[in-house]
């Protein structure tokens, strides 16, 4: 019998110290001591929020795949802590008229297969990204040409000025334009890539990849970091460890136990309710990495009764209490905040117009009155509840109760997340496999502006699930794109906020923070929304 | 020599059972043995004889110390082996003693031998448990005892598993195992009951022979008076846990003192055939021609063989007559019965019931003909649905043929009377009846169809001899009254002699002899028939008349 070993060596090395300790305690079972301890400090074993399965960072918006993208790919430009665009792979220049953008690749960039990074690679990558990303699509709508003018230079020419271009290209989430070799980037944007070569600070160890279980990255020795210190996604990506292993634990309890006992170094998302266990351990640090956190929200279907009626939507919004949702979802008030801003609290465009009842605990009486006034005929509200995603189980249950209290007839249908994402794409009537309301969460940077917030779109069938037909909203968006200067933008954004809550385009249910826990041996981790593994070091 | 007629009064006592009582364990004990006394002297064969439930097997298990734990226990008395009370011994002392000083052979050698161990090893295990002999010596002794029990090809059999041996060989292995350590006492619990009559004869002879050469005392348990006559020195008759009577064998058979013993002996069917009945000129109700049944065990990718269970069987029965099919196990007699009933499909041949050949009829076409021919099975405990009342069982057939329930019930009540059971039996369940009563019910069920032919497949074989006699009598009476033809399947020549007009002898699926009962039994023409008759135990004795069979009746033997 031969044992397959490739996939697990990384796991073992990372834990061998702990293993030695465990074994010492259990001499009755196995003799203490193991020969595996020598390269201990060089590997970080991390449990991420989900298992990595899809490896193409352009084709999906899944955060775990985006995080994977930041490990092995690099980006042209990136934002710092203050959302300011900074050079990363390339310096950039904007022409006076705002029609020509020039990116110049810095020296020493190299793909993991040893080939240098050229402007042609960047152009191909940007084009593929532009087919998938909604922000990218906006740019390409006004693009005259995008070409490599020489080996190092990318020239992007527009038909009309598009102020947010740099912001979109530098965006951190959900689909940043990762740069891959042109031959890979030429893959159709609807097909997943099958070769995983980037120019980022880590290489992907393909033979150790086990989808959904474990993925291993090794330090890319030939990566040349920028000189500046790391600042969010910008600055030098200096790698201080040899290997990073992401492993998945399907069970929150298991992950916490593993961290406490030292079998893993890092837990990206710890269940808030379980923090006391982690905090009790002197060897661990529990912290908020991303101060913005997540927005949780509900979306109604505008196509079918009862939520095709604005008054009834308003009644529903009135019935809901953010406090109840967040308290149930998160528990500890330290880690959630009531927030009525559709662009997220703590962002430049934050504004909370129209969210009073949401934040004050809901008003069931008023909701009931409004519902009656609207002539609600007891049409059942099909509310979709995912059973297998921990961060989405509470919202449907709490909202269902609130709606019932306000007089709605709620038909809560439980289903796994897969069924939900399929079903929410269905435009059929709720009784025929459609739906009326569902919930999801967004990382705040993903919804922080009208340009990228997927819900803020009134194009009917082309809009996001729920399909609101809202020309007024589209006008406001156009105004926003045209607006010059932060102040003007903020003014338009405020009107969008008012409009969205007035029409109940969607219901922001507040913001919550995720908490990471790490071994105290892990130091200098960058505090930002995307967990990245440069700069971080592991001490003895 | 009719009996062994040996005398043991001067021999030392090997085993003495004194006032032994056994009862069921628990709060509410039911007595099983009531203070019985048995004495066995060295070299003597003592037969315990009795019907089922008389306590004879319990006696033997008590001696071996093998009463089922938690179910039965000794309540009083002593069991002395050469003066030592076995009831005083603890478990390990008792274990030491078994096979060394007392050993036992059982009724069914197939189940009494471990099916997954080679028989040589099973014999050798006795030596392993009680001696410390070198391996070679052990082997030698095993081979030696195997030769003593006249096993052929000892080397091969040594390495065989029980299922590879014949019934007689298996019982020889049991005997070898029991005698290898030359015990003082051998207990044989119905050791030949499961064997065919010819094999039984050989085994009885073997036991007698070894007993003489080893001087072993034998406690022989049997229900078969024929066997008693063959082997016993002294006989104890048991009934309901009591010793009814004991005497030297000849004394007992000639002049039984107790009524029970007399009745028991009178019930033993005689080998002298019944008086011939006048020939009938009616057309046969059943004629079977060229009946052949072949079991084909071959299959795809599987080596197998054809088993010819019955070949070219031919006979006919007229109304009011009884035809017996006699043969040992595997002779094909039951196959014929089941083919005739169309419970299995014959491979070839004709089965004419009245004017119709039913051999090849499809199930649906067969149904109307079913009522003409009915069957009574061997096992009275399984032939009635335990979940149905007797009444329901009785009317099942008539209802199938369109009788109204009331009418059928009325008829059923009459039948109850006819078979000698109270009419209120109809409302009761089979488990409330004894074996003989159940067999009467099964007969009533068959008769309820007013059939022309009744097939009795070993219908009295499972019954005690006294009950057997009653059921045979009932069949006879019914035949008188109703004029039914009976096809009587049996392995027992005595039974056949008492009920059959004609006898067919089968061997290996073929008919070897077919003649009147009188001729078959007194002037057998085929060697096999002769061998069967000669092997019948106690064939010189007419038990019912307490005397030898008169010479002219045994001259051919």
């Amino acid at each position: 019998m031969t044992f397959h070993s490739n996939g697990f060596s990384a796991l073992t090395k990372g834990r061998s110290m702990m293993l030695a300790a465990a074994l010492a305690a259990s001499t009755a079972i196995v003799p203490a001591g193991t020969a595996l301890a020598q390269d201990e400090a060089e590997t970080i074993t991390a449990v991420m929020h989900s298992g990595l399965r899809v490896l193409d960072p352009i084709i999906t918006t899944a955060h775990i795949t985006r995080n994977h993208g930041y490990m092995i790919y690099d980006v042209l430009i990136a934002v710092n802590e203050n959302f300011e665009v900074q050079p990363q792979m390339a310096d950039f220049e904007v022409s006076e008229d705002g029609l020509t953008y020039t990116f110049t690749l810095r020296d020493g960039l190299m793909f993991h297969d040893g080939e240098p990074v050229t402007a042609a690679d960047a152009v191909a990558s940007l084009k593929r990204w532009g087919e998938r990303d909604s922000g990218g699509q906006l740019i390409f709508d006004v693009t005259a040409s995008l070409e490599a003018t020489d080996d190092k230079t990318v020239t992007w020419t527009l038909n009309e000025p598009f102020t947010p271009l740099l912001d979109i290209v530098a965006k951190q989430s959900a689909v940043p334009p990762f740069i891959m070799p042109a031959r890979i980037a030429e893959t159709s944007a609807d097909e997943a890539i099958t070769e995983y070569v980037g120019s980022g600070p880590f290489t992907f160890v393909e033979e150790e990849f086990e989808p959904g279980v474990s993925v291993t990255y090794e330090k890319f020795a030939d990566y040349v970091p920028r000189e500046e210190p790391a600042d969010w996604m910008a600055g030098g990506k200096v790698v201080n460890v040899d290997r990073v292993v992401w492993t998945t634990m399907p069970d929150a309890q298991t992950a916490i136990n593993a961290l406490v006992s030292g079998e893993i170094d890092y837990l990206e998302q710890a269940q808030i309710d379980l923090l006391p266990i982690l905090q009790a351990s002197p060897d661990l640090t529990v912290e908020v990495r991303d101060p913005l956190g997540f927005q949780t929200m509900g979306r109604m279907n505008f196509k079918y009764p009862p939520f095709d009626d604005e008054k009834i939507r308003q009644a529903a919004l009135m019935a809901i209490s953010q406090e109840n949702v967040l308290a149930t979802l998160v528990g500890n008030p330290e880690y959630y905040s009531l927030c009525g801003a559709i662009f997220g609290c703590g962002t430049p465009l934050a504004d909370e117009t129209g969210s009073d009842t949401l934040k004050s605990g809901g008003d069931a009486e008023a909701a009931r009155a409004l519902l009656e006034e609207a002539g609600y005929d007891n049409t059942p509200v099909v509310l979709m509840q995912p059973t297998d995603v921990v961060t989405l189980t509470a919202q449907p249950v709490v909202v269902a109760q609130a709606l019932r209290d306000a007089g709605f007839n709620v038909d809560m249908q439980a289903m796994d997340w897969q069924t939900l994402v399929t079903r929410r794409a269905s435009q059929s009537a709720p009784a025929d496999g459609g739906w009326n309301i569902f919930f999801t969460n967004w990382s705040v940077p993903e919804i922080s502006s009208p340009l990228i917030n997927p819900m803020v779109n009134g194009r009917g069938d082309d809009a996001w699930f729920g399909w609101p037909e809202d020309p007024a909203l589209e006008e406001l968006r156009a105004e926003f794109i045209a607006a010059d200067g932060a102040e003007a933008q903020a003014e338009v954004a405020q009107r969008i906020q008012a409009h969205v809550l007035e029409t109940v385009n969607y219901i922001p249910l507040g913001q919550y923070l995720t908490v990471q826990a790490r071994s105290n041996k892990m130091v200098d981790m960058i505090q930002q929304p995307v967990p990245v593994f440069w700069q971080v070091d592991k001490t003895e | 020599m009719l009996f062994r007629n040996r005398h043991f009064d001067d021999k030392p006592v090997a085993l003495e059972i004194l006032g032994l009582s056994v009862a069921t364990a628990g709060d509410d004990p039911v007595p099983i043995l009531n203070a019985i006394d048995v004495t066995i002297r060295e070299g003597e064969t003592v037969c315990l004889v009795g019907e089922s439930g008389s306590g004879k097997s319990v006696t033997s298990l008590a001696v071996m110390g093998l009463l089922p734990k938690g179910a039965l226990e000794v309540t009083a008395g002593r069991i002395e082996l050469e003066g030592q009370n076995l009831l005083d011994l603890d478990a390990s002392q008792m274990r030491e003693l078994r096979a060394q000083r007392i050993s036992m052979i059982f009724q069914e050698p197939m189940t009494a031998l471990n099916p997954v161990m080679k028989v040589g090893d099973q014999i050798e295990e006795v030596l392993d448990s009680h001696t410390k002999l070198p391996a070679k010596e052990k082997k030698r002794r095993v081979v030696d005892i195997m030769q003593q029990v006249h096993l052929p090809d000892v080397e091969r059999i040594y390495g065989s598993y029980p299922h590879q041996l014949s019934g007689g060989q298996r019982q020889r292995i049991m005997i070898a195992m029991a005698l290898i350590l030359e015990p003082k006492l051998l207990i044989a619990d119905e050791p030949t009951t499961a064997l065919d009559v010819t094999t039984q004869n050989q085994v009885l002879k073997l036991i007698a022979e070894l007993q003489e050469s080893h001087g072993t005392a034998v406690l022989f348990i049997t229900h078969d008076m024929g066997v008693v006559a063959e082997i016993a020195d002294t006989v104890y008759v048991m009934r309901n846990g009591d010793i009814v009577e004991s005497a030297a064998v000849e004394t007992l058979l000639r002049s039984p003192q107790k009524d029970y013993t007399r009745r028991l002996l009178e019930a033993v069917p005689s080998l002298v055939p019944r008086d011939a009945r006048p020939e009938s000129w009616a057309d046969p109700v059943l004629s079977v021609d060229g009946l052949t049944k072949i079991y084909d065990t071959r299959g795809f990718f599987k080596k197998g063989r054809e088993t010819k269970a019955a070949q070219d069987v031919k006979f006919r029965i007229k109304p009011g007559r009884t035809l017996g099919i006699v043969g040992e196990s595997g002779s094909g007699k039951s196959t014929v019965a089941r083919c005739v009933m169309r419970l299995i499909d014959p491979t070839e041949g004709r089965i004419r019931v009245g004017q119709t050949d039913i051999a090849k009829l499809a199930r649906g076409e067969l149904q109307p003909h079913r009522k003409h021919i009915q069957i009574v099975f061997q096992d009275p405990f399984r032939s009635l649905n335990p979940r149905w009342t007797v009444g329901d069982s009785l009317i099942e057939g008539p209802l199938n043929f369109g009788q109204s329930k009331a009418e059928a019930m009325k008829h059923a009540a009459e039948l109850m009377e006819l078979v000698g059971l109270p009419a209120d039996a109809l409302g009761r369940y089979p488990h409330q009846f004894s074996g003989g009563q159940r067999q009467r019910i099964a007969i009533a069920r068959a008769i309820a169809m007013r059939p022309d032919i009744l097939v009795a497949d070993e219908a009295v074989s499972a019954l005690d001899v006294s009950v057997q006699a009653q059921v045979l009598k009932l069949l006879d009476e019914l035949q008188e009254k109703l004029g039914i033809a009976i096809l009587f399947i049996t392995h027992d020549l005595r039974v056949a002699a008492q009920i059959c007009d004609e006898v067919v002898v089968m061997q290996h699926g073929r008919i070897v002899e077919h003649d009147t009962a009188e001729n078959v039994l007194s002037q057998p023409s085929h060697a096999y028939t002769r061998a069967l008759i000669e092997a019948a135990p106690g064939r010189h004795w007419d038990f019912a008349k307490f005397r030898e069979l008169s010479l002219h009746q045994t001259e051919t033997a």
């Binding site: 465990a22 794409a425 967004w442 | 274990r95 059982f106 990718f301």
Partner: protein, 313 residues
């Protein structure tokens, strides 16, 4: 014997074909669209349709089935829709932990359960018997994940004797493997031990009532020889049978245990695949586990000949 093996293997074919058709239809009738999980939250319907097409999911059902079976016949189990990895590679990575832990569990269970069952049958209706029976009924009555958590809490967290979770390949470190495998094996073994001990006891009790056991006792054979040489070997066939049918239970247990102990085995692979509608993986896994089940039971049938010379194929 060889003929029998061939016939048995041929008999497996229709069963596996039915399994294949069944699984294929079941999945295609299941709501859920792998394209949606790949595309993520902000995909538009048009993008979904394009992805679906590139995955071959918009073909008619029978075409998909024929393609699948055709590839299957060539040993190609397809490619995971979600991770774009060949299914054979996924299975190759995941099957060893499951096989190792499964094998260890079976060994452990048999070693514990058979003596327990023998003891209980031998001491029938004593406190030993009742204790064994109570334990075995308990084993059936507690959900396997609860048992797993109790073990973790006790041995890994409170006593700190063993690691909480994970898996190490024995080729890398036998100690590492054992220290991590012990708790999952014990967890899995609980129900299996219960099952086998019960069957051993019942089977042995029946055998102990047989004539040949009485014969052995009448020969003065010592009690432990009666139990182990005479009774146990005769009781072996039903025990082997329960080990085979219990194998299905083991597979179910594995699915849960792998989640509790974070073992990268095929159980988790399958559950994840079902929840993500990764059709090729689900199909391959159900076919594979069914085939393993059938194969194990074939081996067990053949093993009967070792115990019982009357059984010949």
């Amino acid at each position: 014997m060889l003929g029998y093996v061939i016939r048995r293997i041929l008999a497996v074919i229709p069963v596996m074909v039915i399994v294949a058709i069944f699984v294929f239809l079941l999945l295609r009738l299941t709501p859920g669209d792998p394209a949606a999980i790949i595309a993520g939250d902000s995909a538009t319907p048009a993008q979904l349709e394009r992805i679906r097409e590139s995955l071959g999911l918009s073909e008619p059902l029978h075409v998909q089935f024929v393609t699948w079976v055709g590839n299957l016949a060539q040993g190609d189990l397809g490619t995971s829709i979600i991770s774009s990895q060949p299914v054979t590679r996924l299975i190759g990575q995941r099957i060893w932990p499951t096989l190792q832990i499964g094998t260890l569990t079976i060994l452990l269970s048999v070693l514990i359960a058979v003596p327990l069952g023998v003891l209980a049958a031998w001491r029938h209706r004593t406190w030993i018997d009742y204790a064994v029976m109570t334990f075995s009924v308990l084993g059936f009555s507690i959900p396997v994940f609860v048992i797993g958590y109790l073990f973790i809490k006790l041995f890994a967290i409170d006593l700190r004797w063993l690691p909480v979770q994970g898996y190490t390949s024995p080729s890398e470190s036998v100690q590492g493997f054992l220290s991590r495998a012990i708790l999952p094996c014990l967890t899995l073994a609980t129900i299996y031990v219960a099952l086998i001990a019960r069957m051993t006891r019942a089977s042995l009790l029946e055998v102990l009532g047989e004539d040949y056991v009485r014969t052995a006792r009448a020969k003065g054979v010592k009690e432990h020889i009666v139990l182990f040489r005479h009774a146990l070997r005769n009781a072996a066939v039903p025990i082997m049978t329960i080990i085979g049918t219990g194998f299905a239970l083991l597979i179910s247990g594995v699915v849960v245990t792998e989640s509790v102990f974070n073992i990268p085995g095929i159980g988790r692979l399958t559950v994840d695949a079902i929840l993500a509608r990764d059709y090729p993986v689900i199909q391959a896994m159900i076919l594979l586990t069914s085939a393993i089940y059938v194969f194990v039971n074939l081996l067990i049938d053949l093993s009967y000949t070792l115990f019982d010379p009357r059984i010949r194929y």
